[in-house]
């Protein structure tokens, strides 16, 4: 199976779900699960093939699309995109499983869901700037609809804020891409061609921050992160998982694979600014998470903090840093999906509260031991304990930082400590409350359902697998980083 099947299965799934007759609307989730599984399988098969035959020519699909402007329908996948495709597939499966009980307009729900998945696959596969931008923007409207229709707390506000941030950031990306296209002669939107063009340093100096900021907003870069917590909290569980798990990765991927290779000199001019913002994001996100009362807000701000590690890894301009950033993308995609799934679906659907104090009354570690166990593991992964994916990612970023700017390691360490603090605090308050003997007995809660258990098991096992044996992922990522695209970044001092 070629990687194109990820894209095809997602969009075909969206279409099929819409075409289901009204009386079999319940089948929507089955169709969505099958489509997600097909996508994940295609991605996994492509990853395996790549690992077995690392030197085989990369798959690519290239057809003229709008020849007047030099726009090609060009899809291709190196190891870097393949690993992200697999992440998307896994999060998609988990997302469908965690949405198994959606009964309000299920066809529309899963159609929007699969459209987002398809758009994300498309971004990771595109090798043409126009095509990449198309897929990047396809995601925006379904995001709005998912949050505004199926969301909870302050959904219309959260949805609109998130959408306006997204569209604003894509306006910046549009400007950056169009400038790159025009300055390179206005003949081709091919990303490899644009990346090989030597832009004037003066142009790079202003075009890079425009393009990087556009992607950075979606990656939750401080101080443009405010859409993320409100959006994640307002969104229904599956949408929070997608948003934090893969959609924010679109921003990081774009920053890494579009903004930096296109304008490498601009990147080196602005590198330290990005690193500074990333470090502020790490600490600010962690500190804010420490003071939240809503479990989802804690996870939302922890995402801001974790995304800071990705940006910091990119800003080091070292092989270790980029690799760490990529690993963090994958790790955070899995872990954030897991945390949001447990908080939004498993806990909230049963207790109807996310307030840390109110949750204490439910005595969750007794009444819902499975959830408490899963959340504990997820917290460990999120804190970056050895054995989990987060550790591999953060240590790689740390090495990268040490190689490039050793003094930055101090605030990073502070950030890691605060991360531990807020993770433990939230876990403790929500799941392991201290209760005096006189308190009323906690109400009984329905046990975990099979879809929930399988989704949790899937995500935890992947996080553990990466943490214990990261070699395949590192091999895939290094394959991408060794491509000519990154020569200009990794070769320079």
């Amino acid at each position: 199976m070629t990687p194109a099947w990820t894209l095809i299965s997602a969009f075909a799934g969206a279409l099929l779900v819409l075409l289901l007759p009204a009386r079999s609307a319940g089948m929507a989730r089955v169709v969505a699960l099958l489509a997600s599984a097909t996508g994940a399988l295609a991605a996994a098969a492509a990853c395996l093939a790549k690992l077995q035959h690392p030197d085989a020519p990369a798959w690519s699909f290239d057809r003229p699309w709008i020849p007047h402007l030099g726009i090609q329908f060009h899809l291709a996948a190196n190891g870097l995109s393949l690993s992200l495709l697999l992440l998307t597939g896994l999060v998609a499966i988990a997302g469908v499983l965690f949405s198994w009980n959606v009964t309000q307009r299920p066809r529309a729900f899963f159609a929007f869901f699969m459209t987002i998945i398809g758009g994300v696959y498309g971004v990771f596969l595109s090798r043409d700037a126009f095509l990449l931008f198309v897929f990047y923007e396809i995601v925006i409207l379904p995001k709005y609809m998912l949050i505004a229709i199926w969301g909870s707390t302050n959904r219309e506000y959260g949805a609109m804020k998130l959408t306006m941030y997204s569209i604003g950031s894509s306006a910046l990306i549009l400007i950056g891409l169009v400038v790159a296209y025009a300055a390179a002669g206005g003949t081709s939107f091919d990303l490899d061609f644009l990346a090989s063009y030597k832009y004037a340093p003066s142009l790079q100096c202003w075009a890079f921050p425009v393009l990087f900021l556009g992607f950075g907003v979606l990656a939750g870069m401080w101080p443009f992160h405010t859409w993320a917590p409100t959006g994640h909290v307002a969104a229904p569980t599956a949408a929070s998982m997608l948003l934090a798990g893969v959609v924010m990765k679109l921003g990081a991927y774009g920053a890494l694979c579009v903004a930096m290779p296109l304008f490498p000199q601009g990147f080196f001019e602005w590198r330290l600014v990005i690193a500074g913002l990333a470090v502020v994001g790490i600490i600010y996100g962690a500190l804010t998470a420490l003071t939240q009362r809503d479990l989802k807000f804690v996870i939302g701000y922890s995402s801001v903090s974790h995304m800071g590690f990705i940006l910091l890894g990119l800003a080091t301009a070292t092989h270790w840093g980029l690799r760490g950033g990529m690993l963090q993308m994958i790790s955070h995609g899995i872990v954030a999906g897991l945390l949001f799934g447990i908080a939004g679906r498993v806990v909230y659907e049963r207790t109807h509260t996310r307030d840390l104090t109110a949750l204490g009354a439910f005595d969750l570690w007794r009444t819902l031991p499975g959830a408490a166990f899963a959340f504990t593991l997820a917290t460990a992964a999120s804190m970056g304990l050895p054995g989990f994916s987060g550790f591999v990612a953060e240590i790689s970023v740390g090495i990268g930082v040490w190689e490039s700017d050793p003094w930055l390691i101090v605030p990073v360490a502070v950030g890691i400590i605060v991360t531990g603090a807020f993770s433990l605090r939230a876990m403790h308050r929500a799941f392991f409350p201290v209760r005096d003997a006189t308190a009323a007995a906690a109400p009984m809660l329905p046990p975990l359902t099979w879809p929930e258990i399988s989704a949790i098991a899937l995500l935890i096992s992947v996080s553990l697998a990466i943490g214990v044996y990261p070699l395949p992922w590192v091999t895939l990522i290094d394959d991408g980083l060794n491509s000519p695209l990154f020569h200009s970044i990794l070769a320079l001092p």
């Binding site: 007047h68 402007l69 396809i138 229709i149 609109m160 025009a182 832009y199 004037a200």
Partner: protein, 496 residues
């Protein structure tokens, strides 16, 4: 003079006029016999036959040859856009006006056909005086169409449209006379031959400025847009559909012909820091003002028709961005955009008309719960508005991206100094802002619930008026080359 060639060349227009006269005759006969006006369905059917016939007649005309008359041109640009005008006109006719609005469908549709004839003639000429006459034929019909429903609002709309249109016609004509006085030529190629590269002499510049002001009125470019909100709100939906879609496309063609063909050498420069007076700079300023005013004012609207009017102003701005780049590819993209913009705005108006017929008003709140009452209307609205907002995979996105990309590319010198970057940047940001007010409307249709969820039935022609543009927008969004290729080829052949 070869009268047979002239006849073939004017066959589409002739078919339209004959159909209009037949329609009038039939309407009068029926009214005399039954004392009741002709049924709406009949009027629509006869006009549709006429327009389809005109489309067929387009194929009989010569494609690229010597014109039989100095007043008319035969070139691919005219041919393509005659087809476009007929297509958009056909859609407008398909949109049935509310029964209570229009008491004489026969006369109303005859006027529609006359307006389309005027637009066809406008597209098919490069003789300035004839251009003026053809434009006035279209405009006079449209003034009447705007005020046809005899309500106070329609009367206000019509009067405003007429007064503003009259003043703009005066500007246009006076500008033409100045240009003639300087160039001693009335056709576009002759003007191009009379001009030398470099800045325009003051009188010709004033003339050109006046012509642009006149066309700015027609295109609803700010600050000449004051008629638009009232006309969009007060006039019958069918008339608005014609004014918004077909007439704007024609305005764009006239601009391309006049500026890019006639005054190509006198564009000046709108590059930031290197500005030279010339039409490119004027267009850039008009574009910036239109985008800012249109988008900002649209944010505050509660009437959907007024919202669409301000969105029209904003979209004129994007169009002028591409035209100010003064290049073939940007012009091709602009013409592409004006067509898909016409389709999308027409569709949005058609949905608004349906909601109005059902709910009695066009406020945002009237759209609440639309997805439950009529999934077709809601989905179509989604397509139209997201296309207007420039969200892929719809044609509006492809159009905007190509316009901005081509504008930037055409205006950039190879040394890497960004040229129209300020304008394209503004356009991208403004286009992002526009998503907000389109989403306000989509939020009503998809998110808000409404107590009344009884399904709504639409007439067949109304349904077609929703489906055809929606399908076209999706198809052109996925395969923009389908329309862009003929447009670019036509432009290249015309430029030779």
């Amino acid at each position: 003079m070869n009268y047979y060639a002239l006849f073939l060349q004017l066959l589409p227009e002739a078919v339209l006029v004959i159909t209009a006269l037949v329609l009038l005759g039939v309407a009068v006969t029926i009214e005399a016999k039954t004392r009741r006006p002709i049924a709406m369905e009949w009027a629509i059917a006869i006009s549709c036959v006429g327009i389809v016939g005109a489309c067929a007649a387009l194929n009989f005309g010569p494609a690229h040859a010597e014109s039989a008359s100095t007043l008319l041109v035969v070139d691919p640009l005219a041919r393509v856009f005659k087809a476009v005008v007929l297509g958009l006109g056909l859609l407008a006719v398909l949109l049935p006006p509310a029964q209570r609005e229009i008491s004489q469908p026969g006369e109303f549709h005859a006027l529609m056909l006359f307006a389309i004839t005027g637009l066809l003639l406008t597209v098919g000429t490069d003789h300035l005086l004839f251009l003026f006459v053809a434009l006035e034929l279209a405009s006079l019909s449209m003034y009447l169409l705007a005020g046809f429903s005899r309500s106070a609002k329609a009367a206000e709309a019509s009067l405003k449209y007429f007064l503003f249109g009259g003043v703009s016609a005066a500007f246009f004509l006076f500008g033409l006379s100045l240009i003639y006085g300087f160039c001693h030529a009335l056709t576009v190629p002759a003007i191009a031959a009379a001009l030398t590269a470099g800045p325009l002499p003051p009188f010709a510049a004033v003339g050109l400025l006046m012509v642009i002001v006149g066309l700015g009125f027609k295109l609803a470019a700010a600050p000449f847009h004051y008629w638009a909100p009232d006309v969009y709100q007060g006039a019958p939906a069918t008339s608005v559909a014609l004014i918004a879609a077909a007439s704007k496309a024609v305005g764009a063609v006239v601009l391309v012909r006049l500026l890019l063909l006639g005054f190509r050498e006198c564009a000046g420069s709108a590059v930031w820091g290197l500005m030279h007076p010339g039409w490119a700079l004027w267009l850039a300023v008009l574009a910036a003002v239109s985008m800012i005013l249109g988008n900002v004012l649209a944010l505050a609207q509660t009437s959907v028709r007024r919202l669409l009017a301000y969105s029209a102003v904003a979209n004129t701005g994007y169009l002028l961005v591409a035209l100010s780049a003064n290049g073939e590819y940007a012009a091709g993209a602009a013409l592409f955009y004006v067509v898909v913009y016409g389709l999308a705005t027409f569709g949005a108006l058609a949905v608004t008309a349906a909601v109005e017929q059902e709910r009695g008003d066009d406020s945002l709140g009237a759209f609440a719960g639309l997805v439950h009452r009529s999934p077709l209307q809601a989905l179509a609205l989604l397509v139209f508005l997201t296309s207007l907002a420039g969200v892929p995979p719809l044609a509006g996105f492809a159009g905007k991206f190509m316009m901005f990309g081509a504008a930037m590319a055409e205006s950039t010198t190879p040394q890497g100094t960004p040229g129209l970057t300020w304008l394209v940047g503004l356009a991208a940001v403004m286009s992002a802002i526009s998503l907000y007010y389109y989403l306000m409307l989509l939020k009503q249709a998809f998110v808000r619930e409404d107590a009344d969820a009884t399904p709504v039935e639409l007439s067949t022609s109304h349904r077609l008026a929703l489906l055809i543009p929606a399908v076209l927008l999706v198809a052109l969004g996925l395969f923009p080359a389908l329309l862009l290729s003929p447009l670019t080829r036509a432009l290249q052949l015309t430029f030779l």
